[in-house]
Amino acid sequence: MRTNDEWIRALGERGETQGAALHELRVLLVRAARFALQRGQSRAGRRGAFDVDQLAEDCAQNALVAILDRLPDFRGDSRFTTWAYKFAINMALVAGRREAWKPVSLDALLEQAGASTWRLETDARSVDPEQAARRGEAWKVIQETIETELSERQRQALKAIVVDEVPLDELVRHWGSSRNAVYKLLHDARWKLKTRLEARGFAPSEVLGMFGGAR
């Protein structure tokens, strides 16, 4: 087993030493990518019918390129192989989600998500009229904020991810954006909901209790 320094030194050299290190690393990356794809596949259910072995090879190759490119960024704050694995896992999970969501038209899904308003399924056990009225007021604030104060993109992202469980990476791909940018869209939408609820006298934890107890 190589130490971190041995990995860095070998990958930075030329010839047989580098070749052996690259081969060893590639084997580890294929294993990591396959592990990630198999997990993703089992979660995707019937959507997860794709060739794990071929995809694992492709992801490992792409991860290897990224690792060599980012080698100067390795700070040594973990084992080298743990650091390297995260590239293969990232690429494999993104690729697996892509395969699973391929048959779904995100254009249609986002259009529908953006255009529809939510109707909360009621619970017959919520009998306390005062509690029901307060819950109704909170729900109105949530609806108003989503429908009138979020941008179109924020509304689409929030609804697609929360209700339709579209993976964030699929929106990133669909919009040609970045994870940071789509995460920021969602963050800003959540922050707006939180501050609007607070401004109307609803502590978010209280509202959570109202809806958490509604089942």
């Binding site: 087993m1 959540r190 089942r215």
Partner: protein, 83 residues
């Protein structure tokens, strides 16, 4: 057009809303902290500053959480003498 929504979906959203902070780390920062974070988690160092920074983002971001958990489980599946 109206769409029926399960209260559990709203509960999940409101849990995320209630935990939202004005400033949060980005997915890139999370990725940077992933490998030391997972090793600290496996070592049981739950009070480590890196894990505290990561924990909030991981509760909010499903794709980053998936990467953290996959890396953690991959390491768990390996022999201890891995370098």
């Amino acid at each position: 057009m109206e769409r029926s929504v399960d209260p559990r979906v709203i509960e999940r959203l409101l849990r995320d809303v209630s935990e939202t902070e004005a400033e949060e780390i980005s997915c890139s920062e999370c990725f940077d902290l992933l490998s030391p974070g997972v090793e600290l988690d496996l070592a049981g160092a739950i009070d480590a500053p890196i894990l505290i920074r990561l924990a909030h983002h991981l509760r909010q971001c499903g794709v980053c959480r998936d990467e953290f958990e996959t890396l953690r489980d991959l390491l768990r599946s390996e022999p201890d003498d891995r370098t």
